[in-house]
């Protein structure tokens, strides 16, 4: 991870309740200077509220928010959005329809004298490569261009942080990837601190320096994209941040360590788990499951292909195991097992598996001491932070 | 830029208001009249000013609204004289304590007793009659019941031939109130029911009634005499004739315009002088071209009205008009008078 500076944005135990429903529940979050953090979660998880709290569009019930070292919400008082120096980019772009592109961008620069203002407008429009459209009105621009103007407008006053609320979801599929790449490029180029809210897993993983996964007003996990994808902190994160199947598994004591096995055979060794003997679940993502043609009911992993989805470079196979459980497996496009074909599933070698006990991930033998208590497992307040 | 223009507009408008007729800045007139009557009073007041040197200004609104304004203004009210177009309203204002009793031999002489308050809180100034108008092509005046003409219109022979004013109109209410005083509530109810059984056509304006009789869409209507006079003045060949109702009985229904001195007035002497003048020297000026009957028996009505001939008026009992008015409204509503 690249070395990062002091936190530009800091949320300390922030709670926001609408009526009786906590939209944001005791959330802690640090966004470091120059960092691009993505916040993801299912709809209604509070991710947009986090953004609105940072922007000052909502006032937290409890907790504090600190921007660039200054408390903007908390016991000391509340700073309204216009004095927070935050940039906002909305899904609907929210460009002022009665102003030209240049005047939209200049809107936040009214404290600059004219010459410097014009220069800054040219500069940021150049940044988003829209210099030649400065005189146009918003309705004369394409969706992607409008989004770039919205970013330029947000960047122009050099805000502490730019907040982007699902900025790409109003764009069509083909445009989205391109605009995203451009926008992220500009953010990185200018070293802008940014928080981007999205419901798109691919977007969250590919764009963010760090990813914050939220659920029901709480932070389920914060980490680098690799961390949240490869070492999910919970069953929710595991299944929300990509396809995942869950199989019951067992940790066997082995010479000098422990061995993890499940219905499709040995998963991996577990160094450091020596002497542990416990029931767990293992998270298996489709790319971690290998398939071989033919099956012998006596061997582990025997099953039948029930569905084949062709995705171009890869083909997603769904396999029903002898136990009735299903697993998914990515296969290169040349490999196609027809529906109904007997196959044997196994775990690809070299895997560092994610183990679950109840709904939480377990990372050490200490976590599995005692009986598994599926339902009573701590669903509640997450204290996991990277 | 835009804001300054807006502000400028607003400011200049304010200045314009201040300049245009905001009488706060003018010295108030000697006498201030709250009048429900508008017709020609202005000329009468000017004449009064010329003769006495006392200036008069007035505002015009409906009786009921002016009364509420006087009450709401309380002690601050500038009103010296309250002038209405209906006896019931005069009685009501007096009943509510808004009018002051005045002692005036001149008014005692000028205004017959039935046209003023027994306690001298108000005085009638002009009399109007509400009587029957017919189309001579369709009606022989002998058809009317000379003893009780209003009640007689309940007779089935008038079926489909009648037009009258709506129940919302004070003229109608006052007429029915007087019928209640004459015949009791049951009797009045039978009469109104009879009109309705005759499919009386309701209209919302006396002029419309006169036009309808002229056009022959109605044979008979009940109207104020002065509207007929006024219409005839403009269109002498109107095919309508006036019939004085109930001349062999209680007489024709009449009502008055009148005035009283406001209790909170700070200039009661001048107010009284104005009313006295209106009831005497000012009678012609007050009635002007409105074709009403002067309340003062020593003053002659105008020529056109005189051509309608003499008639016997029904006794005007303002208290009965006032008190029965509510009953009349309820009765008309009960019978679904307006359909």
């Amino acid at each position: 991870m690249t070395p990062l500076g002091r936190p530009a944005v800091r949320l300390l135990g922030v709670t926001k309740t609408y009526g009786a429903v906590p939209a944001v529940d005791a959330v802690d979050l640090d966004v470091l200077d120059g960092e691009l953090v993505t916040v993801i979660g299912p709809s209604g998880c509070g991710k947009s509220t986090v953004l609105r709290l940072i922007a000052g569009l909502e006032r937290p019930d409890t907790g504090a928010i600190v921007l660039a070292g200054h408390e903007v919400a908390g016991p000391a008082g509340f700073v309204p959005p216009e004095r927070r120096r935050v940039g906002l980019v909305f899904q609907d772009h929210a460009l002022f329809p009665h102003l030209t592109v240049a005047r939209n961008v200049a809107f936040g620069l009214d404290r600059l004298e004219r010459g410097r203002r014009d220069a800054r407008v040219r500069e940021v429009l150049g940044l988003v490569r829209l210099g030649d459209l400065a005189g146009r009105y918003p309705h004369e621009l394409s969706g992607g261009e409008q989004q770039r103007v919205a970013l330029a407008r947000a960047l122009a006053p050099e805000p502490t942080v730019v907040l982007l609320d699902e900025p790409f979801s109003s764009l069509d599929e083909t445009l989205r990837a391109q605009v995203r790449a451009e926008l992220v490029g500009v953010l990185r180029e200018t070293g802008t601190t940014a928080v981007l809210v999205t419901h798109d897993q691919t977007e969250a993983l590919s764009v963010g320096d760090r990813v914050v996964v939220m659920r029901a007003g709480r932070v389920e996990q914060t980490g680098t994209p690799q961390e949240v994808f490869e070492r999910p902190a919970s069953r929710f994160v595991a299944s929300f941040m990509g396809d995942a199947d869950f199989l019951p598994a067992h940790v066997h004591p082995e010479r000098g360590g422990a061995l993890l096995t499940c219905e499709i055979g040995i998963v991996s060794t577990l160094p450091g788990w020596g002497g542990t003997d416990a029931d767990v679940e293992v998270v298996l993502r489709p790319h971690e499951v290998a398939l071989t043609a033919g099956a012998d009911h006596a061997t582990a992993g025997a099953g039948v292909v029930t569905d084949v989805e062709y995705h171009g470079a890869f083909v997603l196979h769904t396999v029903r195991l002898t136990s009735g459980r299903t697993l998914r497996s990515w296969q290169p496009h040349a490999v196609r097992h027809p529906v109904g074909a007997p196959v044997t599933a196994s775990v690809v070698p070299g895997l560092t598996p994610t183990l679950l006990r109840g709904d939480r991930a377990v990372t050490s033998p200490a976590d599995v001491a005692g009986p598994a208590d599926g339902d009573a497992a701590p669903r509640g307040r997450s204290t996991l932070r990277s | 830029m835009r804001r300054t223009t807006l502000l400028g507009t607003a400011l200049s408008l304010c200045a314009a208001v201040a300049a245009s007729g905001c009488s706060v800045f003018d010295p108030p007139a000697d006498i201030q009249v709250y009048s429900a009557r508008h017709y020609d009073v202005e000329d009468a007041f000017k004449e009064f000013e010329e003769q006495t040197g006392k200036s008069v200004e007035f505002i015009f609104d409906e009786d009921a609204a002016l009364l509420e304004r006087i009450k709401a203004e309380g002690d601050d009210s500038p009103a010296d004289v309250y002038m209405t177009v209906d006896a019931g309203n005069l009685w009501n204002a007096a009943d509510q304590g808004v009018l002051e009793a005045i002692d005036s031999p001149a008014l005692d002489d000028a205004v017959p007793a039935e046209y003023r308050d027994p306690e001298n809180r108000w005085f009638g100034l002009a009399v109007r009659a509400r009587t029957v108008l017919y189309n001579p092509n369709a009606v022989d005046p002998a058809e009317f019941d000379a003893e009780d003409t209003y009640g007689g219109l309940a007779d089935p022979k008038w079926s489909g031939r009648l037009c009258m004013r709506d129940s919302q109109e004070a003229y109608t209410q006052s007429l029915v109130a007087s019928l209640i005083a004459l015949h009791g509530e049951e009797g009045a109810r039978d009469i109104v029911q009879g009109w309705l059984d005759n499919d009386v056509q309701i209209m919302s304006n006396d002029i419309l009634l006169i036009e309808a009789v002229d056009a022959g869409t109605c044979d008979v209507a009940i109207v104020n005499h002065y509207y007929v006079a006024r219409e005839l003045d403009e269109k002498p060949d109107l095919n309508v004739k006036l019939f004085w109702a109930s001349q062999e009985g209680e007489g024709t229904h009449v009502n008055i315009s009148g005035a009283g001195v406001v209790a909170t007035s700070d200039n009661k002497a001048d107010a009284q002088e104005l009313i006295e003048w209106l009831a005497t020297d000012g009678q012609h000026d007050f009635i002007g071209g409105n074709h009403e009957y002067p309340v003062n028996p020593s003053v002659e009505p105008d020529e056109l009205v005189a051509s309608f001939g003499e008639f016997t008026p029904m006794t005007l009992d303002a208290q009965a008009y006032g008190e029965n008015n509510a009953a009349a409204v309820a009765l008309l509503a009960d019978l679904g008078y307006d359909g």
């Binding site: 309740t17 609408y18 005791a26 922007a55 569009l57 909502e58 309204p80 216009e82 927070r84 120096r85 940039g87 906002l88 909305f90 329809p97 009105y137 309705h139 004369e140 919205a150 669903r379 509640g380 | 807006l6 208001v17 905001c22 706060v24 003018d26 108030p28 201030q32 609104d61 409906e62 009921a64 609204a65 509420e68 304004r69 709401a72 601050d76 500038p78 009501n92 709506d166 919302q168 004070a170 209410q173 056509q201 309701i202 209209m203 919302s204 304006n205 002029i207 419309l208 309808a212 869409t217 006024r230 403009e234 008015n325 009349a328 409204v329 309820a330 509503a333 009960d334 679904g336 307006d338």
Partner: protein, 556 residues
């Protein structure tokens, strides 16, 4: 387990501290209280009296009122929205003139219309007379009925819907329309399935205004013998001298208004009506030949019934009078009345629109249910009969006067109200903030919250958001509001009659004085002048609308 405690939602619901701005929210509350004050003053005053004596046919009045509202609601919606669409989506000969001519029936004072209509169309009138002359004597048709009233009120009140609907159609993003068209929807289907529903907030606002007019109208319904609750109010007041009962009956009218406003909110629904992109209806289709003629005929027919015929009849009377004795009741003083009317109407329009924008802006800034509730409260004055507002104003200022006097100021405020036009302006603000706010709010509804929030986040304090973002965006609504208030104020009667100082006469007072005594030939020309006067804001409005259209077109 501690976790359980946190997952169970707390029973004690905490009031969400609004994220609105205290000064702006407070301003809304103050305005709302000032608007409510006269009505409250009246209610307080009458509750001191005895139990109300309600008219015996109250149940029939309620039914009549509902029927009238339904009829006029449907009528104005069809005529108003239909014509707005016709002149927005199509181009035909005379369209540009029709666009603003169609607003004119608004300029006709109700107390003139009723008489003119009946004298023209009823049995004894010239129209049926002509029919009889051609077809021979037959049964006459009495126009003086509920259906007659519905037709007349629809033909004269439709401009409320028309104005707001047209503003909505003009503001509608062309992209929405294009999207609908590219999805294969025909022109008609696009209108009924996409554009009309999108214009719902504006249609609802227009309809709400129509309903309020219907509720408080007294003059027209009285002429048609339609006994609504408002007629009942006057009937009780004048007929039984019982002001207390009359006001309590008027509060029933307020209940109706409450239902209307609730209905309006429902009609707006939960949908958000903000849409990206604005622009002129650039794809207006040209109707040539007989189809253009048909479109023009539709406009002219509506105008003929609601405007040309009454104007023609008035003009006829005026000319007749002038020919007979050379007087037209327009003398030197009439100029003064005219100035008074213009000044008061302009001031009222500016005051009401400023307040409406202030309220709309405060609501946009947030503040939640409380501020929105108070904002809604400000529209109620429109549903209170003018005379009640007038008396409430008197009572309210009398109470203030007593208070000031009690505080030791000798003489108190004196005759602050009836001594100047301040009282009239105050009562007009109470009465006409409703239409102003409806019009402005319908425009505000189309400003997305993200627009406001972006402006704030860009460092603009609320005042700058108002001047640089909200004001320019709601300009069409403001223009409509100015016209509505100005026209309403020019022809307004009960308030100005009741609250004017001595010597202060407006054109409408003058006309009424003549009309009240049935001097129609004398009232004719001044009445036409009211119509002319109302033309001014209407023309100004459409010049502005055209400028907006062109502004939007310029870049493309």
């Amino acid at each position: 387990m501690t976790e359980l405690a946190t997952t169970t939602p707390s029973r004690a619901v905490r009031r969400v501290p609004g994220r609105g701005r205290t000064p702006w929210s407070v301003a809304v509350v103050v305005v709302a209280l000032l608007v409510a004050a006269p009505v409250l003053a009246v209610l307080v005053d009458v509750t001191r009296g005895s139990a109300p004596a309600w008219p015996r046919d109250l149940d029939r009045m309620v039914v009549t009122t509902l029927l009238l509202m339904l009829g006029v609601g449907v009528g104005t919606l069809v005529v108003g929205a239909g014509l707005a669409w016709l002149v927005t989506a199509y181009r035909f000969v005379g369209r540009d003139t029709m666009v603003w001519l169609l607003v004119l029936p608004l300029a006709m004072p109700a107390y003139i219309l009723g008489f003119v209509f009946l004298s023209t169309f009823d049995e004894a009138g010239p129209v049926q007379g002509a029919v009889r002359a051609v077809l021979g004597d037959g049964a006459g048709l009495s126009v003086r009925s509920l259906p007659g009233c519905v037709v007349v009120m629809s033909l004269t009140l439709y401009p409320y819907v028309y104005l707001l609907a047209r503003a909505a159609f003009v503001e509608q993003g062309p992209r929405t329309r294009d999207a609908a068209r590219t999805l294969g929807a025909g022109r008609a289907r696009t209108f009924f399935r996409v554009l009309l529903p999108l214009a719902r907030p504006s249609l609802a606002a227009g309809l709400a205004l129509v309903m309020m007019e219907v509720l408080t109208d007294f003059a027209t319904v009285q002429y048609f013998g339609v006994r609504t609750v408002s007629v009942g109010v006057y009937s009780v007041w004048r007929g039984t001298y019982d002001f207390g009962s009359a006001v309590q009956l008027a509060s029933l009218v307020l209940l109706f208004a409450l239902a209307v406003l609730a209905g309006e909110r429902m009609m707006r629904g939960r949908a958000r009506f903000t849409q990206p992109g604005r622009g002129a209806p650039s794809d207006a289709v040209t109707l040539a030949g007989w189809r253009g003629g048909l479109a023009l005929a539709a406009c002219l027919l509506t105008l003929a019934a609601g405007f040309f015929v009454p104007v023609g009849r008035l003009a006829g009377w005026g000319v007749q009078r002038f020919a007979s004795d050379g007087t037209a009741s327009i003398d030197a003083r009439f100029g003064e009345y005219l100035v008074n009317s213009v000044v008061v109407a302009s001031l009222a329009a500016v005051v009401c629109c400023s307040l409406a924008v202030l309220i709309g802006h405060a609501v946009k800034l947030g503040g939640g249910r409380v501020v929105r509730g108070f904002a809604g409260l400000t529209t109620f004055g429109y549903a209170v009969p003018g005379a009640v507002v007038g008396i409430g104003t008197l009572l309210f200022f009398a109470a203030v006067d007593d208070l000031v006097e009690a505080l030791g100021v000798p003489g108190g405020t004196g005759l602050l109200v009836t001594g100047s036009v301040a009282g009239i302006l105050y009562a007009y603000a109470v009465r006409f903030l409703g239409p102003a706010y409806q019009a402005v709010d319908a425009s505000f509804a189309k400003v997305s919250p993200s627009m406001t929030q972006s402006a704030l986040a860009l460092g603009a304090p609320p005042r700058r958001v108002l001047t640089r973002v909200h004001l320019p965006l709601v300009r069409p609504g403001i223009a409509v509001a100015l016209v509505l208030v100005a026209v309403d104020a020019v022809k307004e009667l009960p308030v100005v009659l009741l609250l004017r100082p001595f010597g202060f006469t407006t054109v409408s007072v003058w006309v009424y004085q003549l009309a009240a005594e049935n001097f129609w030939s004398l009232a004719a020309l001044p009445a036409l002048l009211i119509v002319l006067l109302a033309l001014v804001p209407v023309v100004l409005l459409f010049r502005q609308v055209r400028a907006v259209d062109e502004g939007a077109r310029r870049g493309s």
